[in-house]
Amino acid sequence: MIETDILIIGAGPTGLFAVFEAGLLQLKCHIIDALPQPGGQLAELYPKKPIFDIPGYPEVLAGDLVTNLMEQIKQFQPGFTLAETAETIEKLEDGSFIVTTNKGTKHKAKAIAIAGGLGTFEPRKPILKDIEFYENEDRGVDYFVKDPEKYRNKNIVIAGGGDSALDWSIFLSNVAASVTLIHRRNEFRGALDSVEKVQELKSAGKIKLITPAEVVGFKGNERIESLDIEMNGARMNIPTDYFIPLFGLTPKLGAIANWGLEIEKNAIKVNNALDYQTNIDGIYAIGDVNTYPGKLKLILCGFHEATLMCQSVYNRINPGKRYVLKYTTVSGVDGFDGTRKEAEKAVVKAID
């Protein structure tokens, strides 16, 4: 059982920044996210696109903002349960919660902060009969690349035409025995450098490209052995160890929708006059996942909501304990890892 003060559901910018604000109040955090890496939409959907409305950054790439947030919170040593989805919640008599993921990982926390953004990103799956069976227990169908080493010296087929299909084809071309990339169109859509790199690797014979084509079936009993591919009306069959369809992700509120929270317009209603708490005492919702009158789905608003949520959790966990807001410039930042960041002292010195 993982134990923490605040269990944050969602590792997007709001969830990550909450770790920092909690840390200043000596509260420990653990984060659950359905994706295999932190960053939420920013990392998964548009890592190479710029954001122009983060205060203090005239322009920042989404991926860089995530890297910076991870750097900013590292001294507070957040725990991560990645590639798992929060499934059930149980409130104990002492007011704490137990959240269990789809993989059965249990987390005990004094407060819950749902920072789920648009919801859980679920992969868009190809419509192939009985494919579900092969999605589990390493039977050959994966919708995420969680551990690239798994594909070392294996033959893999990636399907899709966007950035993740391109980027993983590039990366895995150095790991796998062979990489075949299949897409329904001749055109790929991604960052220019990714498209060019795939072109280069194709010419060098390190990636096999099959376009315009579609995977229409597969063969194999206990696991995937080969794929049926249709190209210009002609069928072919290619042997493979893994089939990785990367067709993008659709967000769904998921199991959280059944937690008894008040939901309006596919978002969780919170008290924005005070602390972004939901209708269930001890469960908060911050960032894009919540709604209240005048709500704006902006990263900067999520940061604000995370900050107020942490203050509320502090008061909840330490009833009656005195605390006043401190400025990091004045008091510095004391990490749970023993590090300390502080402003350099001004000198007091005569000038001759």
Binding site: L45, Y46, K49, L118, R124, G161, G162, R184, R185, E187, R189, F247, G248, T250, P251, L253, K265, N266, A267
Partner: protein
Amino acid sequence: MPQDVTIFITDRNGVKHEVQAPTDMNMNVMELIRSYELAEEGTIGVCGGMAMCASCQCYLLNDVLQTERNDDEEAMLADAYHVKDNSRLGCQIHISEDLEGLELEIAPEQ
């Protein structure tokens, strides 16, 4: 003073709405639909307007719109569901004075 244009939008329940769209706020059709709440929040404009989700897919019902699909739009629609010849992504249709009288229908949810 820039003029608003009138656009006719049929929602997912088949109800036709006549709406006034500002031409001076750098808006697109997806945002217009959201501003009039013609589709449930969370079911439209999911990606924010990056042509990455097709939740704002619309069918053009007349020939007022003269521009063609752009590359991003074409790529997204190639992967989307319920796509027809007259499908467009609302987020890629910029509202300008040439759109007076445009008629469209919001496609079913993805």
